[in-house]
């Protein structure tokens, strides 16, 4: 673990000089990044650029959760992993890359499948959580745990040629369940494995997740109406920002009278889990 610092080292002043000259970051913002603990859940297509930029920009402590190993079919989008890492643990491979980028970043690895039995314990103590996962069950799990722990959640997703980004459980905004109280039918959920994904699409969304994280950590995230950013490779105007609802008083987990006060069985809730192959329907 890292002691909180109240000033930057000479090495940090040199390394982060291009961020220190901007009033929106400055020494204060850089120290906030330095003293922050960020948990990235998933070291795949979204987690790769997100973790790399957070480490590069000076986040002091970065936690990584993933239980998977690197596969050849990951490499076109998961740029934190090298071809030589195929077969190895993703979090160990990711840590190696992050150490190369910024040896001062304290990388904590959790080589585990996040589930209801370990999520609160793993997530407790972080300041913010990045949802860079790849399935609905884990998304509800991460959300509910963030609500229970009072942590903002930077949620990104990408499939095929589209991506979505939003900051949840933050400043009176909605949580994931406020937006989606009922999980989608399992056979409507497309995964990158069966529907495909263009490598750079999660790249764009993962970078934007790192950006939103910096905004939250440095106190520069607008408290105005919550937004959802939609990205589409094919559209002439590839981005669209949409105003979202606020927190729902009726929400089962963050509402005024929550019915969910401890983590539940998310695989049963969603009808499919993190390890399931999607039925061969080829629809989204």
């Amino acid at each position: 673990t890292m002691e909180p610092a109240d000033q930057l080292s000479r090495n940090e002043i040199q390394r982060f000089s291009r961020q220190l000259v901007m009033e929106e970051i400055g020494v204060e913002g850089q120290l906030q990044l330095r003293n922050s603990k960020v948990l990235v859940v998933g070291t795949g297509g979204l987690g790769s650029p997100c973790a790399m930029y957070l480490a590069a920009m000076g986040v002091g402590t970065l936690g990584l959760v993933d239980h998977d190993t690197v596969d050849h079919s990951n490499l076109h989008r998961q740029i934190i992993h090298t071809a030589g890492a195929c077969g190895s643990s993703k979090v160990i491979s990711a840590r190696m890359t992050l150490r190369r980028l910024n040896p001062q970043c304290n990388v904590r690895i959790h080589d585990q499948l996040l589930d209801s039995s370990n999520a609160l314990q793993i997530m407790r103590g972080y300041d913010i959580v990045i949802d860079a996962t790849d399935n609905a069950a884990t998304r509800y799990l991460v959300n509910d745990a963030c609500v229970m722990l009072g942590l903002p959640l930077v949620s990104g997703s990408a499939v095929r040629l589209e991506g979505q980004l939003t900051v949840l459980n933050y400043a009176g905004g909605p949580c994931y369940r406020c937006l989606f109280p009922v999980p989608p039918p399992p056979d409507t959920v497309a995964t990158c494995s069966d529907a495909g994904v263009l490598g750079v699409v999660p790249g764009v969304i993962g970078c934007l997740q790192a950006m939103e994280t910096v905004k939250v950590l440095t106190g520069r995230k607008s408290m105005d109406s919550p937004m959802l950013l939609l990205f589409s490779y094919k559209a002439a105007q590839p981005f669209r920002s949409v105003r979202l609802r606020s927190r729902m008083a009726s929400c089962a987990v963050c509402g005024d009278a929550p019915s969910i006060t401890r983590l539940i069985d998310y695989v049963a809730f969603c009808g499919s889990g993190p390890n399931d192959k999607t039925p061969d329907l080829h629809i989204l």
Binding site: G156, S157, P184, A195, S232
Partner: protein, 123 residues
């Protein structure tokens, strides 16, 4: 005043877009590509049984007329199925839900823009 004597019943023209995978559910002849997006212009009656046309009428029209197969992947017994986000004039439809009135009952105006988006879970 609507003139209902001889002419066609008045119609509403709704600009609909299907996004993030939902477009694959829709019949090809319905979809028009507009600047790389999958769009459809849908004509609704101004009223159904005397009540103004709502999002529910639009969604039922799509279910009955525009879906290739498996309409339940768009609309289940309660309405637009879970996991589909609806935007009305580029805002989350939940912003239009009023106390005690379901968002499906939002009244559509002529030329309204409605987007149906599938939530993405991959990464």
């Amino acid at each position: 005043m609507a003139d209902t004597t001889e002419k066609e019943t008045p119609k509403l023209l709704i600009n609909v877009e299907f996004s993030d995978g939902l477009e694959t559910l829709i019949k090809d002849e319905v979809l028009k590509k507009r600047e790389g997006r999958s769009c459809a212009q849908i004509k609704l009656e101004e009223t159904y049984g005397g009540s103004p046309a709502t999002i529910r009428h639009l969604a039922e029209y799509i279910r009955d007329n525009c879906i290739k197969s498996k309409p339940e992947l768009f609309y289940d017994k309660d309405g637009v199925r879970p996991g589909i986000l609806v935007l009305i004039n580029n805002d989350d439809w939940e912003l239009f839900e009023e106390d005690g009135i379901d968002k499906h009952d939002y009244k559509l105006e002529n030329n309204a823009d409605v987007v149906f988006i599938s939530t993405l879970h991959g990464g």
